[in-house]
């Protein structure tokens, strides 16, 4: 027997990478076409849904629910209260964006999944091939789908839908297969004995018989698509997921709960409407005609108000710009200030929160126009090395940034070289893709006294929560810190000296834009080139946000106080 350990490691990861790269290169036209048509379709749906006046939407939906299930008041009441609550929390447009994503992902999953299910039921060979693939798809962590999704379709709503489809497809295929398999054989025999063709059998006997099982599968598919919304928001899918994700990164329990509950309300409403389609022929009470008519009337009201709304909706001018950023407190501050300032100067700005690596990739692939979140030369060294030929580096927008290991001042260590076994030999870090994490790992590898230490990844918000807890109990804790950061104002902290310089010396935050921005959008390019501010400025905005202002409000307040500085960016 071969000793497996002695065999050289198989380069599976590079095979997969090469495969995806090959696909990306050779099918780029196809992917771009899908990306463009998908985006415009989904934006169209979102605009339509958002254009429907909220009260009309809520009341009409509640009425429809009541018309379809007479004598039941719980559901319409739930729709009224639930949606009103979502609207009251200011999450209405997020809800509509999420709804678009779920509708699209579910529709595509069903359109692909039901025929696949029929095929597997009819052909044992197809079943043998497809079943293991489905099992693989179902058990693979959903995050993994995000990576090729970004490679193929970039960022935004389309890769989100793509990942959701892959993730949500298996149940409807499995249930369709199951439903068709469970049609009693004597019924199939009877249909055969009357000379039914394969198609007649399928449409007159098998599908009607399997209908309820298929609907159960469809329900699961819709729920999975809904659960993917949060995950997909990491690659720029808009909607409620973004709120949940940002709450996780900032350890903001309240906001996480509010966004979560909105998702729950949406899930319950969708589930009940789908459940309504699942009926037994014998027990199904026939709806009176007027109820049917009224339901159609309600749908017409929704549609007409949506169309009317879309027509009258203000179409923003062509000064479009999409800025990517990472959900760190510093970047939330700077990106929101820049976005608000540009909006006040007549630009149509979209800001997209992304994972750090994806953020760089998006600028390199020209899917976002710019980002003001590039920490150089050290923190984002690896990413810059990877993408430096595909982006334009416009230079610093903020100087004097410091990275380092940070401890509360009640700990009696002052240098990284003094560390022995404090805090369980653990350094509490942030998102695994962040530059400061790479630096911290390098530090652990370079200092002999840190051998056996480990770097605990979490998120920016979780790290601050951990700090808060440790600080209150006067427990030792070591953080991957950076300034500007509001935590230095809130707690008494100190940087550990870094004799080997592995955490980076002085850094700057830079502006990076896509390669051809100068030619295609010189106005935006100019603003990006000129945007800069100071640590103090940033710290002010960060503190405001930390103390409960919304990022846009904090940005507006700062802009109002620094009018001349801001106007200089646009000269």
């Amino acid at each position: 027997m071969i000793n497996l350990l002695s065999v050289a490691k198989l380069p599976i990861d590079s095979w997969v990478t090469d495969g995806v790269n090959w696909l990306t290169k050779n099918l780029s036209g196809f992917f771009t076409a899908i990306q463009n048509s998908g985006s415009s379709t989904m934006d169209g749906i979102t605009n339509f849904l958002t254009a429907i006046p909220m009260p009309i939407f809520i009341i009409a939906l509640a009425l429809i629910s009541w018309l379809l299930t007479p004598k039941k008041y719980g559901q319409p009441f739930f729709i009224l209260i639930g949606l009103a609550l979502v609207a009251n929390q200011g999450l209405w447009s997020d809800l509509m964006q999420t709804l678009t994503l779920v509708l699209m992902a579910s529709a595509v999953s069903l359109v692909i999944g039901i025929p696949l299910g029929i095929w597997t039921a009819k052909s044992p060979k197809a079943y043998m091939v497809i079943k293991p693939i489905l099992d693989f798809m179902q058990t693979m962590p959903a995050f993994v789908y995000l990576i090729p999704a970004v490679a193929f379709f970039g960022i935004g709503v389309v890769p989100g839908a793509f990942a959701s489809v892959i993730f949500a497809l298996p149940p409807v295929v499995n249930f369709t297969y199951l439903g068709l398999q469970q049609v009693p054989t004597d019924l199939v025999e009877a249909a055969d004995s009357f000379g039914a063709t394969t198609w007649q059998k399928l449409f007159k006997l098998e599908l009607p018989n399997a209908k309820n099982t298929i609907i159960a599968g469809a329900k699961q598919t819709i729920m999975l698509a809904l659960s993917m919304v949060v995950t997909a928001s990491m690659i720029g899918a808009p909607g409620l997921g973004r709120g949940v994700l940002s709450a996780v990164q900032h350890a903001d329990v309240g906001s996480g709960f509010v966004n979560g509950i909105a998702l729950v309300i949406l899930a319950i409403i969708i589930d009940r409407f789908v459940q309504r389609m699942n009926t037994e022929p014998v027990s199904a009470p026939k709806l009176p005609k007027w109820r049917k008519l009224a339901t159609w009337a309600m749908l017409a009201v929704i549609a007409i108000s949506g169309i009317a709304g879309s027509i009258t909706a203000h179409q923003a001018s062509g000064k479009k710009v999409n800025i990517g950023y990472v959900e760190w407190d510093s970047e939330v501050a700077s990106t929101n200030v820049l976005a608000e300032a540009m909006r006040q100067h007549g630009y149509d700005v979209t800001i997209t929160p992304l994972d750090n690596a994806v953020n760089w990739q998006s600028v390199a692939n020209k899917q976002t126009d710019a980002t003001v979140s590039a920490w150089l030369p050290n923190t984002h060294k690896a990413l810059y090395a990877k993408y430096k030929n595909d982006v334009d580096l416009l230079g610093p927008n903020l100087t004097g940034v410091k990275l380092g290991l940070v401890v509360p001042d009640y700990m009696n260590v002052n240098s990284i070289a003094d560390l022995t076994n404090q805090a369980n030999k653990t350094i509490t870090g942030i998102e695994p893709g962040a530059g400061v994490m790479a630096a911290a790992q390098k530090t652990i590898d370079s200092y002999g006294n840190l051998s056996g230490w480990n770097l605990q990844a979490s998120s920016s918000g979780a790290m601050v929560s951990a700090l808060d807890k440790a600080y209150k109990d006067k427990q030792p804790i070591i953080l991957t810190g950076w300034s500007p950061h509001w935590m230095f104002n809130k707690y008494k902290l100190k940087y550990l000296a870094d004799p080997k310089g592995t955490m980076g010396s002085q850094e700057t935050i830079n502006t990076v834009v896509r390669k051809n921005l100068k030619q295609t959008n010189p106005d935006v390019y100019k603003v990006m080139k000129k945007f800069h501010w100071t640590q103090d400025d940033m710290q002010t905005v960060m503190l405001d946000i930390q103390n409960g202002k919304t990022p846009t409000k904090a940005a507006d307040d700062w802009i109002n106080k620094h009018k001349s500085q801001v106007n200089a960016w646009f000269k």
């Binding site: 004597d186 009877a190 055969d192 007159k204 009607p208």
Partner: protein, 396 residues
Amino acid sequence: MPKVQIKHLTKIFGKRQKAALKMVEENKSKNEIFEKTGSTVGVYDINLDVNEGEIFVIMGLSGSGKSTLIRLLNRLIEPTSGEIFLDGKNITHYNKKEMLDIRRKKMSMVFQNFALFPHRTILENTEFGLEIQGVPAAERRERAEKALENSKLLSFKDQYPSQLSGGMQQRVGLSRALTNDPDILLMDEAFSALDPLVRHEMQDELLDLQANVKKTIIFITHDLNEALRLGDRIAIMKDGQLQQIGTGEEILTNPANDYVENFVEDVDRSKVLNAESIMIPGLTVNADTDGPNVALHRMSEEEVSGLVAVDGNRKFVGYVTSDAAVNARREKLTLRDVITAMPTVTPDMIVSDIMPIIYDAHTPVAVVDENQKLHGIIIRGAVIEALAQTEGDNND
């Protein structure tokens, strides 16, 4: 020319068919073949003709291949070898489309468990065959309604199968088959899932129907009584092979082999015939609690002219005739007052000793044990039949 002709029809299920065929030729049993080869012999070398307008019954125990045979006829199961002729045309190698046409126009099937489509109403079930053929809605509706009217189910046409009793469901199954107006009806144990009374009724209906429409009916059953009632001719199968084909009478009088003989006999002749083996359950009336009205009601219900009277503990009391019961009703008497005597025998008394008692009695004979408990009654026909069979034995 026979309506249906089958020549050397064989069906083997499984992989090693050659080996299985060889073993069949060596007269190995079905189980042995299965253990050796993993193949199952469905039917083997079947030859038979079915004539126009006859009810041809195929009998056999479960596993004898009768259901396989009927499915070979409309090729729901593809034959391994052999030929099937319909109206003199060889349909063995008809392609899919031609076969669909045969199934749509020539043959219709009725199933043991009705096989009605649960998501369709009775009317939609009935018109299914015509719908498949693309007959316009109005015409197929009319024909389906007519078929339902014939089976007295028209008022249920908008109900679903699950809302109907078994007997009604099978009438729908039959109507569905007849709506196509096929030449041949294939009935696969069509009445086996029904309770005995309804089953009897359905058999009568089928006979009435046959008198009117003169279809060729191929009927499968495992019940000898059903076969004898319905069959113009009967074929008996065992382990996929035909044992005998003939009229009911021929099969009863000249069984071709021991298997058939054992199959058709109601009485086990290995035992000495005694009272117990030829008695039937007695129809009783409780002389202490039931009155003449109850007795008369039961007689008309059971279509007899007399009942055995017992007391509360099922102890034998005597016999009540219909005349006596009418008399009791008129005179306001109880049943006890009008009971007539009835000859009794013990369960272990042998037939030859019972004969004289039977000849003299005007009533059936009661079989009563030493505690006066009633076990059953013996009627004249049973004794005569039992004796006739034993005489046949002596001639062997």
